[in-house]
Symmetry: C2
């Protein structure tokens, strides 16, 4: 190559979009920009419109366009890179975050007739108002023994594509009628950039019941949901889905002008933020579990064949890396539990010490927790502050802390909470291995590993596996998108011919690994056995006290 | 009566002794004095002597004498009462707090030969170093099917008389040999004041295996404990015990001179602090459960016949009020749990609000907790931060908190802890009633009821029973001792002929009662059902996780 080529990765998060410019040769991030969404997460009232019910969470698709329009030039400028050295673009998105559009891709919420209708906007992944619809989907799915029930660990989520669509059918039939398309924002942005409505197999497989080679459930199933939905597939929702890394099309003239990139610059098929991070963590083969660790943890793993593993979020052929089955599992609260404890459980003596030593109180807590040995606190917790995603798939479960005495101190509780989340990860690892899906090592990315050495060591000790950290830790989704942009370009155009090639050249992990300490491992085996007994007792129906208390709570709050 | 007569009550607590002067006619406290023990609780090193092991807790009997010598004149002076209007003296003591003495009552620790020997001092009730001895007593008692095993709810405590004596036999045989008497401090102080070694049936019945009409276990039992103990009964420990309220003797000339009271002033037989409070709370008949509420709760109840109730601390004929069976139960941590939470669980936003409003943070917490409805927190706790006394009798049990979500707030946890202690009391109430021992209403005294309206209302709601507060709340033991002093004097000498008469004239409860609210009661029935399921699951062997975690903790701390 006469001079370096670059690719663009665009990572659409919950509050903002991140654009990175990455050198194709070595994966180096040479420039970036973050563009917060002007309307943010819309969860109180529509811009200029009515107030929303609780549990609603919408977004404005205009904000996604602004990320490209403002962020791409800004990132290029920061990189000092010539626009004509950019050979490809890849994107990833939160999911499932769908919206209704016209046949030409115009969002219904852009039309004056619909802009005051909440159902016309993007329903963000964390829009939680479609629980009744999800319940109905599961009820009918189970009665009909639909395959998606097994694929999704026994339960289709209220956060997903068809729950949100059914909500429109029930609550805003006029919008359902008017919508010529119902589409993931991940696919909508690619449609905008290329003019091609080509949808990605990853979001469809993990969130919309689509199965490679089989397609969707039958019209009978959709009619059972609602007669108006009988023919939804093939009309509002197309039947064709494209593999990750495929070229969706080239940048349109209009977008080329706005971004100063070359017209026709290859744009990759859309992707999901967690899934796209996997090859960016160097993982393109079975055996390495990728943990995207933040407020929650997503666990991504590749397998050589299809296995039904308890409590997966999804199991999709080619869903992460082509040629493999992609497994997704999750813990619904991890960093969120620590944030809860920092807010609601840290007593005055920790704050006093922190002020005295001019340190953040989190540092004091971490120091004190680190000085303890495994088992020394006498505590064990169940990490269900936000329900249990994998392997129990039950949002009605709640947290537990056991073993307190008059001598129990705050740092002991903090450490017990960290340990409980590690036990949650070990439970997932053991579920995989019990079905023959190997987990030989862990690779972590996200915000938690950066700040929490104690936590990472505990995860290594508890799981008995080496953990390496991805590099970069925080922007691995954006890097993953850039890698897919390089694949969309292909080697002939200065990119790579496969994600395997891209990973070899563009992805890295830190040399240093957290390694399990045998003496801690042995103690944690004992604590973990206690965790699992409690996990099964409270999580599998022997004592549904958590659900009964939640029901009582709802009754007492609503009366 | 030409002019009012007065009685003296002396209440020996853990850190100090309290002397009150009480008007016989109406129970009015006219003067008082508190004398802290100069040596306090001796738990680190003997005065001028060696360091102590952990778990030791001793006292200096000289400090008990100082309470009379300094406190009695001080209280009389505060009362403005003429010494010759005092017609009787009563005392009560923590128990079991025994000491070895010579035949004339001289404590071994007063003798130069023994004063550097820890075993020669008073072993305070909370001396916890005799667990191995208690284990041996229980093992042999169970093997021989001794009655005391049933009387004491299945377990003889390490805090009690013979555990502490056996500790001397094992660890300081020379002191055992030299001790001509082993005696409760409750009886020793009466011996000092009157010159008569007359021991009380209450301490013997609740702490030393003595049974009215039957006496002690046989010499065979004591020989099985240790050959040197075969004949301990009848030598170091006498066989005769006196009923509560009996006259032990008259004040000696020496003490009359020191206190300016009349020589021969009647002194009542000794008593236990919790037990003596019962008639001071007006309770001299079955049906009313007296709760002495502080760091822990003692529950005292009278019954018409002997019933073996699960997990009692003791069941003694005439043990509280003559003519009735006296039942004692207990919760080993109540106020202590709240104090733990105040220290270790109250987050910054509570402290900030308290500073802003210039209120104690406890008040802010109470206000917020009071604003919640029953069941609204979604939480339930097991109140075992210091083990469980009644009804499980198991010090190895630990605390539990269940139901936390990311929305759980500190005041919800606080309220759940209060509710858990109320559920603990309800468990005891139900144990009594399941054996036909009626509990129709509750009477409370001690420090907790004074400060905690919310707590008292929750106890009424949870137990479904009216609760009245004793008056005085804080000094009911001292009043009870004064009442027994009046009985020792007798009506002819200006006192009363029975504790029933004394209670009628001298004891009071507040008019206002906490009454259960039916709507709360119904909700708490549901929460209590959850508590009981968890109580039985963790407390009765289905899952001994608490014990295993404690064992692991001990191992990890000691290594």
């Amino acid at each position: 190559m006469s001079r370096d080529k670059f690719v663009i990765g665009i990572d659409y998060g919950t509050e903002s979009g991140r654009v990175v410019v990455v050198r194709v040769r070595n994966g180096e991030e040479v420039g970036s920009a973050i563009i917060p969404y002007a309307d943010g997460v819309i969860d109180e009232k529509l811009p200029g419109g009515p107030r929303l019910e609780p549990d609603w969470a919408l977004e404005n698709p205009r904000d996604y366009l602004a990320v490209v329009e403002k962020g791409l030039p800004k990132a290029l400028k920061a990189a000092g890179t010539r626009a004509d050295s950019v050979v490809g673009i890849g994107t990833d998105f939160t999911a499932s975050s769908p919206l209704p559009t016209m046949r030409d891709g115009t969002p219904l919420c852009f039309l004056p007739a619909f802009r005051k209708q909440p159902h016309a906007w993007v329903k963000l992944w964390k829009h939680h108002a479609a629980q009744a619809e999800a319940d109905r989907i599961n009820e009918i799915g189970r009665a009909r023994n639909e395959e998606f029930i097994r694929t999704y660990g026994g339960r289709y989520s209220s956060e997903w594509f068809f729950s949100k669509l059914l909500e429109i059918v029930y609550e805003a039939p006029a919008i359902y009628e008017a919508a010529e398309r119902f589409i993931e924002a991940a696919d909508w942005i690619v449609w905008q950039l290329t003019g091609e409505e080509k949808r990605n197999a990853c979001t469809a497989g993990y969130k919309a019941m689509w199965v490679k080679g089989k397609g969707f459930p039958s019209p009978d199933f959709f009619r059972a949901l609602h007669p108006a939905m009988e023919n939804v597939i093939g009309t509002k929702v197309p039947e064709t889905y494209y593999p990750l890394g495929a070229r969706a099309g080239g940048l349109t003239p209009a977008w080329a002008k706005k971004t100063s990139l070359r017209e026709g610059t290859p744009v990759s098929i859309g992707n999901v933020d967690a899934h796209v991070a996997v090859p960016a963590c160097t993982v393109v083969e079975p055996g390495s579990l990728v943990m995207i660790m933040g407020t929650s943890i997503c666990h991504m793993l590749l397998g050589r064949k299809k296995q039904m593993v308890d409590g997966m979020c999804g199991t999709v052929e080619d869903g992460i890396v082509p040629g493999f089955w992609g497994y997704e599992a999750g813990q619904s609260a991890v960093g969120d539990i620590f944030a809860w404890f920092f807010e609601h459980g840290v007593p005055d003596y920790i704050h006093r010490e922190a002020r005295g030593r001019k340190l953040p109180f989190e540092t004091v807590l971490e120091e004190r927790a680190k000085a303890l040995r495994p088992g020394q606190s006498g505590l064990v917790a169940l990490d269900w502050w936000n329900g249990n995603r994998s392997i129990l798939v039950d949002v009605e479960l709640t947290g537990l802390l056991l073993g307190m005495t008059l001598a129990t101190r705050a740092e002991e509780i903090y450490r017990a909470l960290i340990e409980a989340t590690a036990f949650g990860t070990r439970t997932i690892v053991e579920a995989f291995e019990s079905r023959g899906v190997r987990v030989e090592r862990l690779v972590a990315c996200g915000g938690l590993p950066e700040k929490n050495q104690l936590l990472m060591q505990i995860y290594a000790d508890v799981t008995g596996r080496d953990i390496r950290l991805a590099d970069p830790l925080l922007t691995c989704s954006a890097l993953g998108s850039a890698m897919h942009g390089a694949v969309a370009a292909g080697r002939a155009a200065g990119g790579y011919d496969s994600i395997f090639e891209a990973a070899e050249h563009m992805a890295r992990v830190e040399k240093r690994a957290y390694r399990p300490r045998p003496e801690n491992r042995e103690v944690y085996n004992r604590s973990f056995a206690e965790y699992r007994t409690l996990h099964d007792y409270f999580g599998r129906g022997a004592n549904d006290v958590m659900k009964r208390l939640k029901a009582l709570q709802r009754k007492q709050v609503s009366e």
